[in-house]
């Protein structure tokens, strides 16, 4: 057929060595192109060139970050809990002798800016498939979102679309959204961050592998048909900085998600795993078939033969390189024993899901792809999957660091009268970063599966894993771009400490980390410096805390023109809790319960929410991190949860004590009578963002026990007052009162109002 005459085959490539190829347009450097020619001993075919350009892109190969990410492996504490780690689709940790949990956070930043709804939706879909690929049933999602200024017109386009996309996908696929975070800062205006986390649970025996092993085994493509969507999405979108003029129309490159098909994929895959019908499995995400074929082949016996014309298509006239590069969503690749292939196809059919045998595992050591009998790809799979370029990008400390460090927020003018401080509490509560986020979280299902014990707005989401034993997990996802901008090493550790503490505050014991590293262009030595410092901070921090980094993702090029985002490492911490019935909630307990603060409040205002809200200021040195203290705090909280000696607890972070009280009062409907410690400066005490602090509510009669538990660990505890249902709102003795009505009026309904709803 004439249609196929033009196909660039291996034979044609060998015969036409001098043919000009668009390697530069595909994002390859000249030396990379030459290396491909050396590997193959000829010029690559069009399909091969497309595959190398995708697999060697920043997004797939981690070529700029690899040399730094090694630290995670080198510094990771050894723990018997870790069943699968970095390099797998998602990290897997043991919960007990029977069950394991897998979780991962991943970015979908660029697509979410171009097409907010589909960009965010497919971000959720992608991370869910990573969880399935490990053998787990996905049981929850979470998201960390960053947008530009809330009153910028484009935020009104991006934010509702992103929230709609996350909600639509998660709600339809049937996963509870158990929390997350949303922040606004002008630095994210042209580069919003959409980081999605999913977590899944499995019997330990169901752990799956991505190996295409067993010569003669069948390669099956499961799920949606392959279309033109997302072609070049990875290489075009994620590996290039948006132009300042915004003229590039990248719209067709964003994939479209179908959560219904994803739901069927979940059910079919789990059925197949349980019946032990698959040898290997890999999801198709960024880089589609290219990535799945080369990774499974590289991880297995080393060879694979695929007949590409067997791939079910939803668009006409797709060429082999289109099929290989397509990022159509909701597809998985299965490696199946031929004797079981028929049953696999039948089970997929029962759920109405397409499943097609497209190839076989071979021992040739080559990934060979034929298209209507003509060979269009013949490469060593490891050269695509494992042997991509590695860059040692130049690193340079930014010149402005010294200037920033001395520009301390502690020297800014502050409110001094009681009335001014009172107004500051309300202004802060009403500010975009601190205000109530229920406009967002109400668009997400939180209770499907019936296992959500704590969801938004709690410090961490808590999910029951086993109804019989009550064992469960807690997860928190935290970042603070401002702190990381001031000091990427300690800023990253502050995010880690906060996520760790948020998990501990629920009574769970932190056991593992997943991270999403959002940065500007790696070609900028200052950005690479930030990246190196942040990675080192996380690796050192995790080593100290004794919890391993199990996986995650790097997102570079979050930059428009020369303006990079704040370095924004987002850290997900997973914890385990033996009995979810003993979790510690947010709130104020009962009338007469003691409100106390654990930790030390210093004058630390640089990088704080107050400095930003009141002065639009970012400078100075971020709060100190004390990981020893965090470990003692976590140990204390898990102990007090076990003995049920806390009625409530709440992490102090952005907005400090004032905001923690606002949230506890609004959430519980109770009032609080507070007396600040003698000699404390009310402003500092209320708004400092010193790390390592937790507001606790102690039931009557437990005060002494809790104090003793703190003192025996060397943790300072300061009684602040009592919870009281008859007090309306916040009574700050000798200073001011704020009624609950005033608190709610300031705190609630802000997001919708600012977006014009």
């Amino acid at each position: 057929m004439s249609q196929y005459v033009a196909v660039d085959t291996v034979g044609v490539a060998t015969a036409t060595p001098d043919e000009k190829q668009p390697w530069a347009e595909l994002g390859l450097k000249e030396d990379e192109y030459q290396r491909i020619r050396e590997i193959l001993g000829r010029r690559p075919t069009q399909s091969e060139l497309a595959m190398y350009s995708i697999m060697w892109s920043e997004h797939c190969s981690y070529k700029s970050s690899k040399v730094h990410l090694r630290q995670f492996g080198e510094k990771n504490p050894r723990t018997p809990r870790l069943l699968a780690g970095i390099g797998e689709n998602a990290g897997v940790v043991a919960i007990d002798e029977n069950i394991a949990v897998t979780f991962k956070v991943e970015s979908h930043n660029h697509p979410s800016y171009v097409e907010p709804k589909q960009g965010a939706a497919t971000g959720v879909g992608g991370i869910i498939r990573d969880i399935i690929a490990m053998g787990a049933r996905p049981i929850a999602v979470m998201d960390s979102l960053r947008f530009g200024a809330i009153d910028h017109p484009d935020t009104a386009r991006v934010l509702p679309g992103v929230v709609d996309g996350i909600g639509h996908y998660g709600n339809c696929v049937g996963l509870p959204n158990i929390g997350g975070e949303t922040y606004f800062d002008p630095c994210y205006q042209g580069n919003p961050l959409v980081n999605a986390l999913s977590v899944g649970v499995m019997p330990r025996s169901r752990l799956q592998s991505m190996q295409a092993s067993g010569t003669g085994n069948i390669v099956i493509l499961l799920g949606a048909k392959t279309g033109r969507d997302g072609i070049g999405g990875v290489s075009v979108l994620a590996s290039a900085t948006f132009s300042e003029t915004g003229e590039d129309d990248a719209r067709p490159s964003v994939q479209v998600g179908d959560p219904f098909t994803e739901k069927l994929l979940i059910e079919v895959c789990l059925e197949l795993f349980d019946a032990q019908l698959v040898v290997g499995v890999q999801d198709l995400g960024g880089a589609g078939l290219t990535c799945a074929l080369s990774e499974t082949a590289a991880a297995g016996d080393g060879g694979m033969h695929v007949d590409l014309e067997l791939v079910p298509l939803r668009a006409k006239g797709m060429e082999p390189h289109d099929i290989l590069a397509s990022e159509s969503q909701e597809r998985m690749l299965l490696i199946v024993d031929p004797a079981k292939a028929e049953e696999v196809l039948a089970r997929a059919h029962r759920w109405g899901l397409l499943a097609t045998a497209i190839g076989t595992v071979t021992d040739s050591g080559r990934l060979v792809v034929d298209f209507h009998g003509q060979t269009v790809v013949d490469v060593p799979p490891k050269s695509l999957a494992d042997e991509g370029p590695v860059y040692h990008r130049p690193i340079a400390e930014p010149n402005d660091l010294g200037l920033i460090a001395v520009d301390r927020a502690e020297t800014l003018p502050r409110p001094s009268t009681d009335e001014e401080i009172r107004q500051t509490v309300l202004d802060m509560a009403a500010s975009p970063n601190l205000c109530d986020k229920s406009w967002i979280t109400e668009q997400y299902d939180s209770s499907v599966f019936g296992n959500t014990v704590l969801g938004a707005p709690h410090d961490a989401g808590v999910v029951r894993l086993d109804e019989r034993t009550g064992v469960g997990i807690a997860i928190s996802l935290d970042g603070n771009g401002r702190f990381a901008r001031l000091d990427p090493y300690h800023g990253a550790q502050l995010a880690l400490a906060e996520a760790y503490r948020n998990v501990a505050v629920t009574g769970a014991t932190p056991i593992a980390v997943s991270d999403c590293l959002n940065f500007g262009s790696p070609e900028d030595p200052h950005v690479m410096w930030q990246f190196e410092r942040a990675v080192t901070g996380i690796a050192d921090g995790c080593q100290k805390l004794g919890i391993p980094v199990t996986g995650g993702n790097v997102s570079f090029y979050n930059q428009t023109g020369r303006e990079a985002i704040h370095p924004t490492p987002v850290i997900g911490v997973l914890g385990v809790i033996d009995d979810v019935a003993r979790r510690i909630p947010l709130g104020l307990g009962r009338t007469g319960d003691t409100i106390a603060l654990i930790g030390t409040t210093s004058e630390e205002l640089s990088g704080s929410e107050w400095a930003s809200v009141a002065h639009g200021h970012l400078g100075g040195v971020p709060p100190k991190v004390d990981l020893d203290h965090e470990m003692k705090l976590a140990d204390l909280l898990s102990r007090l949860a076990e003995t049920e000696q806390l009625a409530a607890a709440h992490d102090l972070s952005e907005g400090g004590l004032a905001q923690a009280l606002v949230e506890a009062i609004s959430h519980s409907g109770m009032g609080a009578q507070i007396l600040l410690p003698e000699g404390a400066d009310p402003f500092t005490y209320l708004f400092s963002e010193s790390s390592g602090r937790v507001l606790v509510v102690i039931p009557r009669g437990q005060e002494l026990a809790v104090r003793t538990a703190c003192e025996s660990r060397g943790l300072p505890i300061t009684p602040l007052g009592v919870a009281d249902a008859n007090t309306n709102g916040l009574h700050l003795r000798d200073h001011f009162d704020i009624t609950r009505e005033d608190i709610d009026a300031a705190w609630k309904g802000r997001i919708g109002a600012r977006l014009g709803e």
Partner: protein, 227 residues
């Protein structure tokens, strides 16, 4: 022997396991039913769970109406078998004409998830007979297409015949006459948008009021058995 409640799984059903838990916790035996199987395996009652059956293609519940299992459910309902439709299940019951009216896009055009306060308007149904009329219950309401609409004559008839089963106290979606759930003339088929299966444990739900629906159908079935 405890009553057997069949819970249908359509492709895209999401709350089937949760409905099974609710049935189990209230003392019934949950039985899995499959959309493509006309057999309902001798169950005593049927629960159509929430979710997005067939991906909500065309309209919510529109395709499920034509499934094999629904032919049997419709026939059984006509014989008096208790049938409950929750959320997407309610939409399926309306599309199947087992209940009048329709569920359309929320007035505010967004999916919204909030605990809903409801008043139970009648105990004259198979699924509410153990609940005091006028009782206030709380269950999560979470949907994008939950605004109940019908023509005035239908609404008047529902009111006059006492077939409004649940009414919102804070209407979350613009439903006509604050209707959250209705029943058929015989009182054996009930549909509601809020989720009783997500209000069965204090640990995970806003209340345990959802258990009342299963307790009701168990009472209804045992009364039927005595007759």
């Amino acid at each position: 022997m405890s009553a057997r409640i069949g819970i249908v799984t359509f492709p895209g059903s999401l709350d089937d396991r949760d409905a099974a838990r609710a049935a189990y916790l209230a003392g019934a035996e949950p039985v899995a039913l499959w959309h493509d199987d006309a057999q309902i395996h001798g169950v005593d009652a049927v629960w159509l769970p929430g979710g997005f059956s067939y991906g909500d293609a065309l309209r919510c519940g529109a395709i499920a109406r034509f499934s094999q299992v629904m032919d049997t459910v419709k026939a059984a309902a006509a014989q008096g078998m208790p049938v409950l439709g929750v959320c997407n299940g309610f939409q399926v019951l309306c599309e199947s004409h087992l209940l009048p009216g329709a569920l359309v896009r929320n007035a505010h055009l967004r999916y919204r998830n909030r605990p809903a306060r409801l008043r139970v308007e009648t105990d004259r149904t198979a699924w509410t007979n153990a609940i005091e009329p006028g009782a206030e219950v709380v269950m999560p309401a979470k949907h994008g297409e939950g605004r109940y609409v019908a023509d005035e004559a239908t609404l008047d008839a529902l009111e006059q015949q006492g077939r409004v089963v649940f009414r919102y106290l804070d209407n979350p979606n613009g439903s006509m006459r604050d209707i959250a759930g209705i029943t058929n003339e015989a009182g054996n088929v009930v549909g509601l948008m809020p989720h009783p299966e997500h209000a069965v444990e204090a640990l995970t739900g806003p209340s345990t009021d959802g258990l009342g629906l299963v307790a009701s159908v168990l009472a209804h079935l045992s009364e039927g058995a005595r007759r």
